[in-house]
């Protein structure tokens, strides 16, 4: 019962997300109108723009542009007038791993390849450990972009940092320069790399290429369609909020907040601010956690091995809780 409710409300908010993404659609529509004239369906849709105006758009123009594949060259331009931002509510994370799995499925990753890693973090011996989902932070001062010798990785105006795997020579300097270990490498070959039916786009990161660097891409292909990234969509607890700093709005598909108010009211912070990389991923501190830590081990037996270096894991094992 609770589940269906959740789904229903998510669908509604996806629509909301779509509307908030209308500035993209609108500008895209204008661009596409001039090149290929589409027959108007006559079915008008009324949408609310971020600045509170109601505009009328023909239904044909909605979501048409995003279906086009974004070539590596086009992917260097960000989505106009956007500044994407993610807020992760640590109080709600239970290590359900739906985000990881959905991301892996969408990006054709192997079971242990994770663009989004869930770490078990304990800040100091007096505080409780907590689950810490860690995507790429899409920094505003990205060290990885600075060190790339070929421009294979780049920062876009919409704050997204992408990798063009057609350009990457696999020197791995970006991997060593990222202080957040966000980047991975395609060490070997996979059959799916040879797929010809899907054209490669840095916005989808598929198909992959051997000997190149990969990482979380914030799913710009979905953003263009006004949808949330795969991780945010999948999270059963609504941990991951995603939105636009320019519009000052973030949503997890269920709840929508004013971004600036949310991080100010809830003590939002960025991980390792002192490094000066200016991440675009914010965390809400793990206060009044909704789930006990053990929950994270229930459906994830591997966790006992994976997080064994965190002292609490052995304690929980001794207590028989996991």
């Amino acid at each position: 019962m609770e589940n269906t409710n959740n789904n229903n409300s998510r669908r509604k908010f996806l629509k909301l997300g779509l509307i908030s993404g209308v500035s993209v659609a609108a500008s895209a529509t204008l661009a596409s109108c001039s090149s290929d004239e589409k027959l108007e369906s006559g079915e008008k849709m009324r949408l609310l723009t971020p600045d509170g105006k109601i505009v009328e758009v023909d239904a044909v123009h909605l979501n048409k542009y995003p279906e086009a594949i974004i070539t590596p060259k086009e992917s260097r331009e960000g989505i106009p007038n956007k500044k994407f931002v993610m807020v992760i509510d640590l109080a709600k994370c239970s290590n359900a791993r739906a985000c990881v799995e959905n991301c892996q499925k969408a990006h054709d990753l192997d079971p242990h390849q994770e663009f989004l890693k869930i770490q078990l973090i304990q800040n100091n011996e007096n505080t409780e450990p907590y689950w810490f989902p860690k995507p790429c932070y899409h920094c505003d001062e990205p060290p990885c972009v600075t060190v790339c010798p070929t421009g294979a990785t780049y920062k876009r105006d919409d704050s997204i940092v992408l990798i063009d795997n057609n350009r990457c020579i696999g020197c791995k300097f970006c991997v060593t320069s990222c202080p957040y270990s966000a980047r991975q490498f395609n060490w070997g070959h996979k059959a799916s790399f040879d797929r010809k039916d899907i054209p490669y786009s840095p916005e989808t990161s598929v198909p992959g290429a051997e000997g190149t660097v990969i990482k979380c891409d914030f799913c710009p292909d979905l953003l263009r369609q006004g949808e949330l990234p795969h991780c945010a969509k999948a999270c059963p607890n609504g941990v991951i909020y995603f939105g636009d700093k320019n519009e000052d709005i973030v949503t997890n598909g269920v709840d929508t907040y004013q971004f600036s108010k949310l991080i100010n009211d809830r003590g939002g912070y960025r991980h390792m601010e002192s490094l000066g990389t200016k991440p675009n991923v914010y965390y809400l501190p793990p206060v009044e956690k909704e789930y006990p830590l053990e929950r994270g081990f229930e459906d994830y037996p591997e966790g006992k091995e994976r997080y064994k270096d965190v002292p609490i894991v052995n304690k929980l094992k001794d207590q028989g809780k996991i």
């Binding site: 770490q119 060290p143 990457c168 320069s177 060490w187 070997g188």
Partner: protein, 449 residues
């Protein structure tokens, strides 16, 4: 005329070094080629199957390849530095070692960068570095610096070869070498006749090049150190890395020079040319470098330990547990033993000095390993992974095979070059003798007056 007779005599003296390939040499070269063939197989495997055949994984993305790169380039840098300095001094003994040092410089500069290529996932896209260059990337700086340095070192080596090539050309009738080799001598000597004006010009150019080579080596090696120290990685982000790398490079380079002198002296029976004095002087440079290098190592780790930032502590913990013996060998034995050997007068024999050099070189390689690998194993965000190979790095046979291939290639090229041009510059011997004769004469003249 007098010098011509002497030149002929010297060519005759050194001819056996160039002519015959003894049985021992053949076996030696056979072994080296065998190692290289295994390495080539490993390389083919790495190219066809991908980097999955190495021990490198997402956290430790650079393994012993980059360590070998630093190591070889460091030796080259040191060679350039020392041979550059030798050219400024008119010491009589410099001649016997200068060519050996120069050959080491060029060969290690040739082999070092190959290792950085082995780190690259897509060798087929290497040209992208030139098609889509980005000047703010330290890798681009490194490429520019290494290529310039390599070119300069080559030019420098060639300049020092010219007088000898001319002598070999002029007296090729005394040499029992294949005809093509004689033709190569003639071609490469570019019409050098050893006339006073030519000699002066060559000296001038060589001296200018030797100072340029020193500067270039400093630039190239600093840039290489920056590849590490410009990142935010704990353990790498250190202000002293550039000078530290330079001192370390000098240390290992002097070590390699001592080992090479020892081997060449034994192999070619050059006891008359490479004398105890060479080992003494090189040993003293090794001592100075050991002290400096030990000082840098100590400062770096001491400040990390004393200030005990959490991330540094994490790194030191790993160094003193998992890498305990490696750390002891690299940073205690590798520094203190050479110092002790050089300080105890009784131990200052050729054999012991060479032993100290071996310890120094091995220790330094291990020190580079400890800079690269444990730092990558302790990033800011702790590695939480169920795959053990992603948590800790162990080099695979492919990496070792290719590393030994680098060493073997170095030795093989050295053997070839030593078979092509005498390892002791004939022209240097003659110049030295001429200078001595001139000094005697002028002394006589002043006495008489």
């Amino acid at each position: 005329m007098d010098t011509n007779i002497r030149k002929k005599a010297l060519v005759e003296e050194f001819a056996p070094m160039l002519e015959k390939y003894s049985k021992l040499t053949k076996i030696w070269m056979g072994v080296l080629i065998a190692i290289i063939l295994v390495g080539l197989y490993a390389f083919v495997l790495q190219v066809t199957k991908g980097h999955i055949v190495t021990g490198m994984r997402d956290n430790v993305v650079w393994g012993i390849y980059i360590i070998n790169f630093i190591f070889f380039v460091g030796i080259s840098y040191s060679g350039a530095f020392i041979s550059g300095i030798l050219h400024f001094y008119k010491t009589p003994w410099k001649n016997s070692v200068s060519r050996i040092v120069e050959i080491i410089t060029v060969l290690s500069m040739l082999i070092g960068p190959v290792f950085i290529l082995l780190c690259i996932g897509r060798l087929d896209r290497l040209h992208y570095l030139f098609i889509y260059p980005r000047i703010q990337s330290p890798i681009t700086w490194d490429i520019i610096a290494v290529m310039t340095d390599l070119f300069a070192c080559f030019l420098y080596l060639y300049l020092t070869f010219i007088p000898d090539l001319a002598i070999l050309r002029d007296h090729s009738d005394r040499l029992n070498v294949p005809n093509w080799q004689k033709k190569v001598y003639k071609f490469l000597a570019i019409g050098y006749q050893d006339s006073p004006s030519q000699r002066e010009r060559l000296h001038k150019i060589t001296r200018t090049m030797s100072s340029l080579v020193i500067i270039m080596a400093i630039v190239a090696y600093s840039v290489l150190a920056w590849i590490f120290s410009l990142t935010l990685q704990p353990g790498w982000n250190s202000t002293i890395f550039a000078p530290y790398f330079i001192v370390a490079g000098l240390y290992s380079g002097v070590g390699i020079i001592i080992i090479s002198l020892f081997v060449i002296r034994k192999y070619f029976k050059l006891d008359a040319y490479i004398i105890k004095k060479h080992f003494d002087v090189a040993g003293i440079i090794l001592l100075i470098m050991a002290l400096l290098y030990g000082y840098f190592t100590f400062t770096d780790y001491f400040s990390k330990w004393f200030s005990s930032k959490a991330d540094d502590t994490k790194l030191l913990d790993v160094l003193f547990t998992r890498y305990f013996w490696a750390f002891i060998f690299a940073n205690y034995i590798g520094i203190l033993i050479p110092i002790a050997i050089m300080l105890i007068k009784r131990l200052r024999t050729i054999k012991w000095i060479t032993f100290a050099a071996v310890i120094a070189v091995l220790g330094l390689w291990l020190n580079r390993y400890l800079i690269v690998v444990p730092s990558l194993e302790t990033p800011y965000i702790p590695i939480q992974d169920v795959r053990p190979e992603f948590v800790h790095y162990t080099a695979t046979w492919v990496e070792y095979a290719l590393s030994f291939t680098g060493v073997a290639a170095f030795m093989l090229f050295f053997t070839f070059l030593a078979k092509f041009v005498p390892v002791i510059p004939i022209s240097g011997i003659i110049e030295h003798e001429e200078m001595k004769a001139f000094q005697k004469k002028s002394k006589k003249v002043t006495k008489e007056s």
